[in-house]
């Protein structure tokens, strides 16, 4: 089998021979039809036979090479079966013309030539990249082919659905590095499943779980003057491409992991953002979560009830709501209007609004609340229990309220809490210890002093 696999590598060399012979056969075929009595007509069946034999050998080599894998499936399918069809057509043409006294209709030979061109083009797509023919073509050709200059890097939308190998690494190997590197990548694909990713090549492990041990990486960063340098022709990999390759190899060269499922260092984040517009920066809950937009009429209604309401950002439907402290209105009477947008409220500021305990049951329904300010209000321990469903609450401001250590057990339900403000309350060391035991990492912020004595009111 090894020798057959090795034979497959000669496909690129062998494939040109039948192309030349069969095109020559088709040309002679046409001349023979157009010029009856032409002496050269006798060579037509011989050329078809030679072409058929050469095409058979090339097709066999190609079949073996395709078995190694690593090619785009749709292209290899058509390249393979169209190639075999052409082998059969060349045989048919030989049979049709083997009687040397007559020459068959030449139209099938035209089909053979067109087929040869198309099969050759498909092969070129796989070895030189899809835009090989057009990237350096004149503008009018690019326009005809709908080729966009800016399409060098694929724009990727979502780290969750972006596969590291398929969408980022494979295009680097296929588009930028040239055929030699692709051969290395193909080897990895072939042996990746059954034998792991440490297939030993002639000069070491082609793919290793880390970049420094990988022959692939060594070759793309070695001295370009070296014979082993990859790619052997053309421009080498860019800094960004090398860093992405290194990141992929250091991560164990995964073939089926998404970008979101692995760690990305800041340098890699920057490269992914610049090349692919792919934002891999860790996102806050507000940025990750999607909610329905609030209708403008609802917004206006809420404003009429004494609240300021704003969308948190242009492309984010969460809202930031603040009580406007209007003398003629009471927050406790008006807060019910917020139930309509309970899912959309991410930030709520009801500081110094004379908020009463009874109003907190409305706040407790705002399941996406992240920042809640209720400072300087007559709130007591009794109402804190209403907040226990706010799993995403990160910042809770209760300074200058009437809470005590007693509410620590209710606050302990807020597992997402990162900051609690308790200055000028009776929430003391006991409550803080209890809370920190239940919610590790929460920062409890009391009062500060510089050179002044602690506040005493």
């Amino acid at each position: 089998m090894e020798i057959l696999n090795w034979f497959g590598r000669f496909h690129p060399a062998l494939v040109h021979l039948p192309i030349g012979i069969l095109i020559a056969a088709a040309i002679c075929h046409w001349i023979a039809v157009k010029r009856p009595g032409w002496k050269g007509a006798a060579i037509v069946p011989t050329l078809y036979l030679l072409g058929f034999l050469a095409a058979s050998v090339a097709a066999f080599a190609g079949w073996r090479l395709a078995e190694e894998g690593g090619y785009q499936e749709n292209i290899i399918f058509w390249h393979r079966w169209l190639g075999i069809l052409l082998v059969i057509v060349s045989l048919v043409l030989w049979r049709m013309n083997s009687n040397r006294t007559t020459v068959s209709s030449p139209w099938l030979s035209l089909g053979l030539v067109l087929g040869l061109l198309w099969v050759g083009h498909l092969g070129g797509l796989m070895t030189h990249g899809e835009d090989y023919l057009v990237e350096n073509a004149p503008q009018f050709v690019k326009k005809l082919a709908s080729y966009e200059e800016g399409s060098r890097f694929t724009i990727l939308d979502d780290p969750d659905s972006t596969q590291i190998y398929t969408h980022i690494i494979q295009p680097i190997l296929q588009k930028n590095a040239g055929p030699a590197t692709i051969m290395i990548s193909r080897r990895r694909i072939k042996y990746g499943g059954s034998r792991g990713i440490s297939q030993r090549g002639k000069n070491g492990k082609v793919i290793e779980g880390n970049a420094s041990g990988s022959e692939l990486f060594k070759r793309v960063v070695m001295d370009p003057a070296s014979k082993k340098y990859m790619p052997p022709k053309g421009v080498g990999l860019s800094y960004g491409e090398i860093k992405l390759l290194e990141w992929w190899l250091d991560g164990g060269a995964p073939t089926e992991k998404s970008v979101a499922s692995v760690e990305t260092a800041p340098a890699i984040q920057a490269i992914l953002l610049n090349r692919h517009k792919l934002d891999t920066k860790p996102k806050s809950y507000i940025e990750k979560t999607k909610v329905n937009p609030v209708d403008e009429q609802v917004m206006n209604k809420i404003r009429e009830h004494g609240f300021a309401i704003r969308q948190i950002a242009m492309n984010n439907n969460f809202v930031d709501v603040t009580w406007k402290d209007i003398d003629t209105l009471s927050v406790n009477d008006e807060i019910g209007v917020l139930e309509e947008v309970a899912d959309q409220i991410a930030w709520l500021d009801l500081g110094s609004s004379n908020l009463s305990d009874e109003s907190l049951n409305v706040i407790g329904q705002m399941k996406n609340l992240v920042r809640l300010k209720m400072e300087d209000n007559p709130i007591t321990d009794a109402s804190i229990n209403d907040l226990k469903e706010l799993k995403h609450l990160e910042s809770l401001n209760l300074y200058k309220t009437k809470i005590t250590d007693i509410c620590a057990s209710d606050l302990a339900h807020l597992k997402g809490l990162k900051k609690l403000f308790i200055w000028q309350t009776e929430f003391g060391e006991t409550g803080i210890s209890q809370l920190k035991a239940a919610v590790p990492g929460v920062e409890v912020i009391g009062g500060y002093t510089l050179s002044t004595p602690p506040p005493s009111d």
Binding site: P266, I286, M314, N315, I326, T328, S395, Y399, W423, T449
Partner: protein, 489 residues
């Protein structure tokens, strides 16, 4: 946008507003005055019309809602406060190497100056180990709350152009200031107070004058309103003798009716701004004295800040800044003058006047950070401290003669600012200067980068906050600006 397009754009804007004015049942003047004293829906509509960009510029999720900018006018020496360089002490009094002077332009240094070692003692503070000098004994206590940018650099080496560059993105007059851009982009949170307030201390306004809080080519509704911590908080805000509030209201109503007719005839945006400002001034007669009265603060707060009600001081202004932040003022700009420590006189000597300035700001700015933090305001308030440029590691030798006191010349290539709160990491030092603090050698941050980063914390994309003027789109960061992502939360 071409001139023609801009003309059409403005015409469309005018038509839209004229249409609104002509078809509303009561007219703009009535709308404006109907809401005086309280914020009715119709008043909101007028304000919304005037601040039409409000909230449309919040391009992405920004953690900061407002900014307090503490500007040390004259530029404090980073080498006496934050940028500790032991090598500089070793080189003290030695002649400056020629390599540092070749091709350089200084404001006053000429010939070969001598190197000047630190005129301070440094220690590391907080868990972050930030280097802070003994001149800021209070500030050491908040070292872990602030982020130092130690390799700041600017393009301008004289005060006025450098201040203009910092606040408007251009060293020449005529561009809108940072606070104006922010209020243009995000509007105000409190309709009874200006969105952009300026407080000045130290006895003088900055060298660049009021242009550093001007609105440039933006509608003048976005310009900063200067408030005072001594005397009337805003000049002429009180009614003149013999005029009561009712008479003032009737006067403004009459003026606005005339303005409305002017607007109908000529369609100038500035007329709308004027109507709005009359209305705002009327509301401010009640709201500003209330917010500016620091006498209501408890004694421990006065002790914390070192404030003395009734005096014009940086400490009072810091406390006012916190009060305004609580009330939802979008951009609070403080200027404290007197940091130009050349050493030509005692008041500008690093070991005399400079120490006085340090004492004036150390406690209040530290108290401001802690006070904002304990009230839960620091997370949503971006605090920035700094000058317009830095100071040289060399002693100034004005006219080739050594100055009588220790002082340093203006320096554009390296200086330190700090930022805190509002989406900025605390306890971080970003950037590094060389062994004598002359050049930034790592993570340099340009003025445009600072502007872009500040806007980013507010949720504004600095490349999208634009205003068409004279045939092209203008922006604060001109054609530059890179967000310093490393310091963002």
């Amino acid at each position: 946008m071409s001139l023609d397009q801009e003309y059409r754009y403005r015409q469309t804007q005018l038509e839209t507003r004229r249409h609104f004015l002509r078809h509303c049942t009561t007219g703009l003047g009535a709308l404006a005055l109907a809401g005086l004293g309280c914020s009715s829906p119709s008043t909101d509509q007028v304000i919304k019309t005037l601040t039409g960009h409000e909230d449309r510029m919040r391009h992405y999720f920004g953690r900061a809602k407002r900014v307090i900018y503490l500007h040390m006018a004259g530029s404090p020496s980073q080498l006496e406060l934050f940028d500790y360089k032991p090598t500089l002490n070793q080189l003290h009094d030695q002649a400056c190497p020629q390599s540092l002077l070749e091709g350089k332009k200084f404001a006053f240094i000429s010939g070969v100056p001598k190197m000047l070692g630190h005129q301070a003692n440094f220690k590391q503070h907080g868990q972050s180990g930030a280097w802070i000098s003994n001149h800021l004994p209070h500030f050491c206590q908040v070292a872990d709350d602030v982020c130092f940018l130690k390799a700041m650099h600017t393009d301008e080496f004289n005060h006025a152009p450098a201040q203009l560059f910092l606040y408007t993105g251009s060293p020449r007059l005529g561009r809108p200031s940072l606070g104006s851009w922010v209020t243009y982009g995000l509007g105000t949170e409190n309709e009874d107070l200006p969105g952009f307030v300026v407080l000045v201390s130290g006895g003088k306004t900055p060298d660049a004058g009021k242009s550093v809080w001007g609105s440039g080519f933006l509608p003048s509704i976005y310009q900063g309103v200067q408030c005072r911590s001594q005397g009337d908080p805003v000049l002429y805000i009180n009614n003149p003798e013999g005029m009561d509030r009712q008479l003032r209201g009737q006067t403004i109503k009459a003026i606005n009716e005339i303005n409305q007719k002017e607007y109908d005839e000529f369609g100038d945006d500035e007329t709308l701004t004027r109507i709005s400002q009359y209305e705002m001034a009327y509301r401010m007669q009640l709201s500003v004295p209330e917010v500016m009265d620091i006498g209501k603060e408890p004694q421990y707060i006065h002790e914390m800040y070192g404030t003395e009600p009734g005096k014009a001081s940086f400490a009072n202004n810091c406390l006012l800044a916190r009060r305004m932040a609580e009330k939802g003022v979008r951009f609070i700009q403080l200027f404290h003058w007197g940091w130009d420590s050349h050493g030509a006189g005692k008041s500008e000597a690093l070991n005399h006047g400079f120490l006085d300035r340090c004492k004036e700001v150390d406690q209040p700015m530290s108290a401001l950070i802690q006070d904002l933090k304990q009230r839960g305001l620091l997370d949503e308030t971006l605090v920035v401290w700094g000058g317009e440029f830095g100071r040289t590691p060399m002693m100034e030798n004005r006219g080739g003669v050594t100055n009588p006191f220790a002082g340093r010349d203006h320096h554009t290539d390296a200086f330190t600012i700090w930022m805190a709160g509002g989406g900025i990491k605390g306890g971080v030092t970003h950037g590094e200067t060389d062994e004598i603090g002359y050049y930034g050698i790592k993570d340099q941050v340009h003025i445009h980068d600072l502007q872009a980063t500040m806007l980013h914390t507010l949720g504004i994309h600095h490349e999208k906050l634009i205003y068409p003027f004279q045939g092209r789109d203008f922006r604060l960061t001109d054609v530059a600006g890179k967000i310093v992502k490393e310091i963002l939360v």
